[in-house]
C-alpha cells in the first residue's frame, strides 16, 4: 500500500502538474506528514516558477515595445542596458541595483529528492533527513579506519614513503565554515551536526598516516588568509599572461579613480618606459604626477624593470544619458589620472612580482579609491554650498 502510494506520488511529482493534486490527495494523506509537505512544496514551487516565467516573458515583450526593439533582439544584454537606462541608480553595490533576469537564475532553487524505479527514495540515508552530511560522516569514519589500518600495516616497514606515515599537513588553512559546507553539500543541517563533522575531521587529521588522505581533507579546508579580511577592495590582482610575440610576461587590469577609467598593462623585463595615452613620463610636468605614477615601483623597488602602457577614458562619457543631454567632457587631471594609473600599475606589479604584494597592500596602493565627485543639488549652487540668504 505504502509502496503504491509512493509510486503514485513520485509520478505525480515528476509530471508536476497541479491538476493531479486532488487525484492523489487521499492516498498521500496516508503516508505521513513529511512527504506530504514535501510534495506540496514541490508543486507550489513548480507553479510559482511557471507563473514567474510567464511574467518574465510578458515583461520582456513590454520592454521590447518600450525600447522599440524586436523581441528577438532583446537578449539579456539588451535587457540590462534597458533597465540601466529606465531605472538609473546611484547605488554603489551592484547587488542593490534593479535587475530583470529569468526567474530560474534569480529565485532560490528547490531541492528535489531522487527516487528509484519502485518509488523508494534512493539511499537509506534519505530517512535521516540529512543524507549528505551523514554520508560525509560515514565516509570520514571509513577513511579513519583505513588510515589506522594502513599505519598499523606499514609502520616501520620500508615499502612506503616515510612522509605517508605522518599526520596530514594542514598548516596555513582551516576547516570551511558551516555556511560554506552547507553550500558545498547543498543541504541544510544543524550546528550540532557541523560540530560532529569537524570533530571527526580533526580526529582523522591527527592520526599518523593521515597524509594519504591529504587530498580528501584539503577539499574541506580553505586558506587562512582568504578569511582574515585580506580581500582587496576593488579589482583583484590580475593573472599573469605571456605575450605571444615578445614572450614577455605581462598583466592587465582596468580600474578607475574619480571619473577616470584606466586600462593598465604592465610588461615585465622592460626599461621603465611609460605610455599613457601616447604621453611619456616627462610629459607630466608636475613632480606630484610623476611621483604618483612611480609610487608602485618605488615601493616594490623595481624602478626601471617594468614598462607601463595605459589608456584612459572618462567614465561619465560612457554612461547611458538621456538622448537630449550632452555628454560631459571631463578627463582626469593632475592627480586623478595618475592615481587611476597608479592603482592599475600597483595591481599588475603585485601580480608580476608577488613578493611586493604585502608592501604594496600596506601602503594602500592595492585598494580602490571609491570616492566620486558629489552631485550638485537642485536649487543650490553646488553639492553642499547654498545661495547667500538675504532678508529681502
Amino acid at each position: 500500500m505504502l509502496r503504491i502510494a509512493l509510486t503514485r506520488s513520485s509520478r505525480a511529482m515528476s509530471i508536476a502538474s497541479p491538476s493531479s493534486v486532488p487525484d492523489n490527495e487521499a492516498s498521500v494523506r496516508k503516508i505521513g506528514k513529511a512527504l506530504e509537505t514535501y510534495l506540496k512544496n514541490s508543486q507550489q514551487h513548480v507553479a510559482m516558477m511557471e507563473k514567474h516565467r510567464a511574467e518574465f516573458e510578458t515583461g520582456r515583450r513590454h520592454l521590447a515595445k518600450m525600447m522599440s526593439l524586436d523581441i528577438h533582439e532583446l537578449d539579456q544584454e539588451a535587457i540590462d542596458r534597458a533597465i540601466q537606462y529606465l531605472f538609473p541608480s546611484g547605488l554603489t553595490d551592484p547587488k542593490a541595483r534593479p535587475v530583470m533576469r529569468p526567474p530560474d537564475e534569480v529565485l532560490p532553487k528547490f531541492q528535489r529528492f531522487t527516487f528509484d524505479e519502485e518509488g523508494k527514495p534512493e539511499g537509506t540515508r534519505f530517512f535521516t533527513l540529512n543524507p549528505k552530511i551523514y554520508g560525509l560522516m560515514s565516509e570520514i569514519g571509513v577513511k579513519t579506519q583505513s588510515v589506522m589500518k594502513f599505519y598499523d600495516e606499514h609502520v616501520g616497514s620500508r615499502s612506503v614513503n616515510k612522509n605517508d606515515l605522518e599526520p596530514a599537513n594542514l598548516s596555513g588553512s582551516q576547516w570551511i565554515t558551516a555556511d560554506k559546507m552547507k553550500k558545498k553539500l547543498s543541504e541544510k543541517f544543524s550546528n550540532e551536526l557541523y560540530a560532529q563533522v569537524i570533530i571527526a575531521f580533526e580526529h582523522l587529521a591527527s592520526l599518523p598516516g593521515s597524509a594519504i588522505e591529504q587530498k580528501f581533507l584539503s577539499e574541506f579546508r580553505e586558506p587562512m588568509t582568504a578569511s582574515t579580511g585580506s580581500k582587496l577592495f576593488g579589482p583583484a590582482i590580475p593573472e599573469v599572461q605571456i605575450c605571444a610575440e615578445t614572450n614577455r610576461r605581462f598583466a592587465e587590469v582596468t580600474t578607475h579613480c574619480k571619473d577616470t577609467r584606466a586600462t593598465v598593462r604592465v610588461i615585465d623585463a622592460g626599461k621603465g618606459k611609460y605610455d599613457i595615452d601616447g604621453l611619456q613620463l616627462h610629459d607630466f610636468r608636475h613632480l606630484q604626477a610623476r611621483e604618483i605614477l612611480l609610487a608602485p615601483m618605488i615601493i616594490s623597488q623595481t624602478l626601471g624593470r617594468f614598462d607601463v602602457k595605459a589608456t584612459t577614458s572618462c567614465i561619465s562619457n560612457s554612461l547611458p544619458e538621456a538622448p537630449n543631454r550632452e555628454p560631459l567632457k571631463r578627463s582626469g587631471g593632475m592627480s586623478a589620472l595618475p592615481r587611476a594609473v597608479r592603482h592599475g600599475t600597483a595591481l599588475c606589479v603585485a601580480a608580476l612580482n608577488p613578493e611586493s604584494t604585502e608592501p604594496l597592500r600596506l601602503s594602500g596602493l592595492l585598494t580602490l579609491d571609491p570616492r566620486k565627485n558629489e552631485r550638485s543639488k537642485v536649487n543650490q549652487p553646488g553639492a553642499r554650498a547654498k545661495w547667500i540668504w538675504k532678508r529681502r
Binding site: G272, L281, H282, D283, L287, L303, G333
Partner: protein, 382 residues
Amino acid sequence: MKPCGRLVFQVARRMGACEQKISSCRQFSSEATAHDSIKVGTLCEMELAVAKQLNMKSHLPAPLSKQMDTLGEIVTLIREPIAEIASCMRVVDKNLPNLRLVLWGAFGTGKTVTLNQAVHHAYSNKWAIVHLRSAMELTRRVKEIEMSSFVSGRINDPSNAVAILQNFKQQNQHIWKILGELLTEKDYEWSKSERTLKSKPITEIIEMGISAPFLASDCVGALFRELRRHAKDDKLRVLVAIDDANSLWGKTLVKRADRTYAPPSDLTLVVHFRRMISNDWTNGCVLMVADKKEVADARDELGVSRHTPLELFGEEGFEFVEPFVPIETTNYTESETDALYNYYVNKNWLASKAARSEEGRKQLMHLSAFNPYYYERLCAFN
C-alpha cells in the same frame, strides 16, 4: 684653536681629493679650443672669467646660473647636439652660404645650454659672436618705442638695441682688436649732427649706438650689415646664436598709434635679426632655438603641445629659415645621469644620505623622467 685648525686642514685635504677625482673626468675650456677635443659624455668646465665675459649669468637658464653661483663653477655636460654643432661649425667656409642650424626638442632637454656651449665654442675658436638671449624680448618685452626715421612705419626699440650692442661689445672682447681693424663700407648718416664716415673702424658704430640710444636700432642694422660683409670677405667668422628664434615670427605686444598690435616685421630689431638669418652671406653659422614658449599656454598645466620646428616657426617662418639642419635635443640616457650624479655627489651638492644611496640614484633618475631640467631641480632639493 688647534683642533679647529686641524679640522680645517682635513676638510681642505678632502676637498682637494674631491677635486682631483673630478678633474680626472673633466675637460677645461683651455683644452676645448681645438675642434676635435669635444668628447661626448664628459663634463666640461668653463673658466669663470670666460663665463663672465660671455655673460653666462644672464644667458644660461635661471636654475643653472644660480647653481653657478652656489657651486662657484660652471660645469656642463658635453652631449650629442653640441658635438654635431661643432662639426657643422668646422665646415663653415667663405664659399658656402651661412649654415643654419635649428635646435629643437622637448621642454628642459638643454636647447639653451647647448646654445651657450656653442657660443663658448665660438669664443674658443675666435669667432665673432652675435648672441640674443631671447627673441621674445624683442617682440614682447618692449619697454619704449620710437618710430623709425630711416624707414617709415618701422618701430625702433632703443632699450633693447642698446642692450644688444652692449652685449655684443662684452662678448667680443677677445676679438675687439680685430673688429677695430675692420672698416666701414660707406658713410652712415645717423642724424643731422651724428654720422660715421667711410673707412672708420666698425667699433665706432657700436660706441655710437651705446652712447645715443635713439640711434641704437639703426646702429644694430649697420653693425650686422658690416659683419656680414666682412664675413664674406673672410676677415672673420660669425656665429649668430638666437634663443627662441621662432618668436621672430610670433606675436608681438607692441602697439601702434591706432592701438593695433604691430606685426613682428614692423619691428626694426626683428627685421635686422631676420636679415642675419637669411642665407645671402657666407662664412657664418646661424644657430636658432625653436622653443615652445612662443605658442604654448603656460597656464595649461596638462596639455602637451607639439615642439617640432614646423609647428613652432609657422608657415612663414619655416619657409624663411629653410633649408636648415635640424638638431634634436633629447632626454638624458642613464650614463649621462650617472655622470651628473657623480659630479653632484663629489661636490656635496647631493648631501642627504638617501640621495647618495643606490636606490636614491635610481629614484632621482626616474622621478625626473630623465629630463635634464627636472633632474637638476630634483638634485637641488636633495
